[in-house]
């Protein structure tokens, strides 16, 4: 057993393929660790209670909510954020599709939308618009850019044969 005291301790985090060590209290969420301690501000804090999806990241290849994940609990796992998608200046096909299809207005939810959208296709849950809506329902868009978000997802799905 390892007990971490309430005081800050060193927490190793593997993010976008790079190993970091951050000094954090156990109560710090992964979202706050990313944004406040690692300058990875692409993941957004919308509700901070697991309702809006704007903090969606991948842990061990699955989309999850960084606001309800304690950073200490994410230690030892593979974390991918929106910053980890592009290959240098080459955007991920889903990022390009969101631009091409104008799949946002204010943009605040967009990184979470993209992190979910890539997984929706990988999971095989993007066969129909109805499926896309259902399996994207954990990502709320206050601007209601939903039709364009679905169009971007359809584009990547059809262009890549289901695998972006």
């Amino acid at each position: 057993m390892t007990t971490v005291e309430a005081a800050a301790t060193e927490v190793p985090l593997r993010i976008n393929g790079r190993q970091h060590v951050v000094v954090l209290e156990p109560r710090v969420s992964l979202l706050d660790a990313l944004r406040e301690h690692l300058d990875l501000t692409g993941s957004k804090k919308g509700c901070d209670q697991g309702t809006c999806g704007s903090c969606t990241v991948w842990i061990d290849g699955r989309r999850v909510l960084a606001c309800l994940t304690l950073a200490a609990a994410a230690s030892g796992h593979d974390i991918v954020t929106i910053e980890g998608l592009a290959d240098g200046d080459q955007l991920h096909p889903m990022q390009r599709a969101f631009i091409e299809y104008d799949a946002f207005q204010c943009g605040y939810c967009t990184s979470g939308q993209i992190m979910s959208a890539i997984k929706v296709i990988e999971e095989g849950n993007a066969a129909t618009d109805e499926d896309i809506s259902e399996f994207m329902s954990g990502n709320i868009c206050r601007c209601a850019a939903y039709p364009n978000i679905r169009a971007a997802i359809r584009h990547v799905r059809d262009e890549a044969g289901g695998r972006p």
Binding site: R27, D48, L68, E134
Partner: protein
């Protein structure tokens, strides 16, 4: 968020020892309920025991044709496990109609059973709420109670139990397996959820340091034709106004076996035993289904905004039985 201490348990006994050592401890699985409630100031946990490294994620066959679901199995994984989909489609469907995929990827089955009501008066931290502060009253009684329960209520609490999968599990007489400081226990599903009565602050018969390690779902051929229907104010990512798990077996057009449970209407996952008793031996048609549904809802207690649930629940039950009948005959 208040300061916390955090431990990672290496095995079940380690987890129990760590949790028992601190009166204000809680187990941390997916965190979707516990982290949320600590941040909201509703949970007063000071020490979290991370149990995610315990080997409790599998879904295994039981000798009687049933299934053992590990407490740490994630909602999204259980929903897509072939043996669950084949033997208990209502369990799979209930899981997929709950929360969002991100939350389903995080949330464990054990944690799902320990989640707390979404009653806004519990969660706002200031309204009278006998669950949060016994004796303070219940703001929901004369407040905005559209989502609240109509069965199993008391004058002290009308909060609805929010789980979908628990509704399907109670229909199949699932058993909750725990390990605690005093050893192992097997708790029948219906006994795990307490009615509010005069003690709405007590929700489960679980001791400090007692860990849910799994759920046994007994073998039940009737389960293969089971359905789960959910009715809500928006189409996805919303709690049920009314939901129903239903399974029916028929011989020569007479009901020989039936399982019915309801969500969104009860203070606990609601097994509709009156309706079941009213149906066995009766013709399998909508007239019988309607009479059975009326028997179950006869003692509903409604408040200002939730009276519609009495009719909605009956229609949902009838529709669930019709769907299950169609499925069992196809």
């Amino acid at each position: 968020m208040r300061p916390l201490t955090y431990s990672r348990a290496a095995d079940v006994q380690d987890a129990i020892a760590l949790a028992t050592a601190n009166q204000a401890s809680a187990f941390l699985a997916g965190g979707t309920t516990e982290v949320d409630l600590i941040r909201a100031g509703i949970s007063h946990s000071e020490h979290l025991v991370d149990i995610n490294e315990l080997p409790l994620r599998g879904v295994e066959d039981l000798p009687d044709g049933g299934l053992h679901i590990g407490a740490l199995a994630r909602m999204s994984d259980v929903a897509r496990t072939p043996s669950v989909v084949e033997r208990y489609p209502a369990i799979s469907r209930a899981l997929l109609l709950g929360a969002s995929e991100q939350l389903r990827n995080m949330a464990s089955l054990g944690g799902n059973l320990r989640q707390r009501t979404r009653c806004a008066y519990l969660r706002d931290g200031v309204s009278p709420c006998n669950k949060r502060e016994l004796g303070s009253g219940c703001a929901a009684l004369d407040g905005f109670n559209r989502g609240h329960a109509i069965l199993g209520t008391s004058e002290h609490c009308i909060a609805t139990h929010p789980s979908d999968v628990a509704v399907a599990l109670v229909a199949f007489d699932a058993v909750i397996r725990t390990v605690g400081p005093d050893g192992e226990r097997a708790i029948p599903f219906d006994d795990f959820f307490l009615l509010p009565g005069d003690t709405p602050q007590l929700e489960h018969p679980i001791a400090l340091g007692e860990l849910i390690v799994g759920i046994d779902v007994p073998g039940a051929p009737i389960g293969r034709g089971s359905v789960y229907l959910k009715f809500r104010d928006r189409q996805s990512y919303e709690f049920a106004l009314v939901s129903v798990a239903a399974a029916i077996e028929v011989d020569d057009n007479l009901v020989t076996g039936v399982r019915i449970a309801m969500g969104g209407v009860g203070t606990k996952p609601w097994r509709a035993r009156r309706a079941e008793a009213a149906l066995v031996g009766r013709p399998a048609n909508e007239t019988s289904f309607r009479q059975a549904a009326a028997a179950e809802l006869a003692e509903a207690v409604v408040r200002e905004h939730n009276a519609f649930k009495v009719e909605l629940a009956q229609r949902a039950m009838v529709r669930g039985l019709v769907h299950s009948l169609n499925r069992s005959q196809s």
